[in-house]
């Protein structure tokens, strides 16, 4: 088994009602539990707040960010285990982010 990171990108801003948000959250919990039950979750990771800071370059300037377009904004991550990247990509297809118009970037963890 090899390790891969899912970067969840884009998706609608959460202007849903508290009840809808709870339903969306439940879909994520169910999906991650399903992957965990099949032994594919190494670290379920974390959802991220939308705001943040960017620290850049030799001058180490700090600015408000992130600056990625909303469609590419990273909204969270998960560390998974799969036999290869094709399986990792296949496993991501159950992710609730597709219902919100977002996408999943699947990246191999570099072996050190």
């Amino acid at each position: 088994m090899s390790e891969f990171v899912y970067l969840y990108r884009g998706g609608e801003e959460r202007t849903s009602s508290p009840q809808e948000m709870q339903q969306i959250m439940q879909r994520w919990v169910d999906w991650l539990q399903g992957l965990a039950g099949q032994g594919h979750i190494k670290d379920k990771g974390n959802p991220l707040e939308r705001g943040g800071k960017i620290v850049r370059g030799r001058q180490k300037t700090v600015s408000d960010g992130p600056f990625a377009e909303a469609k590419d904004l990273v909204g969270g991550y998960t560390l998974v285990e799969a036999k290869d990247i094709d399986q990792a990509a296949e496993l991501s297809k159950g992710c609730p982010i597709f219902d919100a118009g977002g996408y999943v970037e699947v990246r191999p963890v570099m072996k050190m």
Partner: protein
């Protein structure tokens, strides 16, 4: 203390050669150790390979990286503990990637 994620973005241009990688590795290790000793390292995270898959749409399609915007490429992450976003950004200033012209995106972990 609150949890924050560092997302590392390398400078634009070709990836590091194995020799350059070998040179910067000890600098990264020293920085991680210093964060850890000050009680700010929650999880060292992982470096990511410059390849991957993008899974998008419904029904989902899988395509290969590289990614449309090379400047948006994330090549690693670390989970940090800090009192607030400003302190987390201050801690990010020690990241060795900044000296090469890269950047660190600092994001708060969303409460569940």
């Amino acid at each position: 203390m609150n949890a924050f994620l560092f997302l590392y973005r390398p400078p634009e241009g070709p990836p590091l050669t194995p020799q350059q990688m070998a040179e910067v590795m000890p600098v990264w290790m020293a920085w991680m150790k210093s964060l850890d000793e000050r009680g700010h390292l929650k999880h060292a995270g992982n470096p990511l390979a410059r390849s991957g898959k993008i899974v998008r749409g419904k029904p989902q399609t899988v395509s290969d990286g590289p990614f449309a915007e090379a400047k948006d490429l994330i090549n690693g992450y670390t989970l940090i503990q800090a009192s607030d976003l400003a302190q987390a950004a201050e801690l990010a200033k020690g990241c060795p990637m900044l000296d090469g012209g890269g950047s660190v995106e600092v994001r708060a972990i969303a409460p569940m």
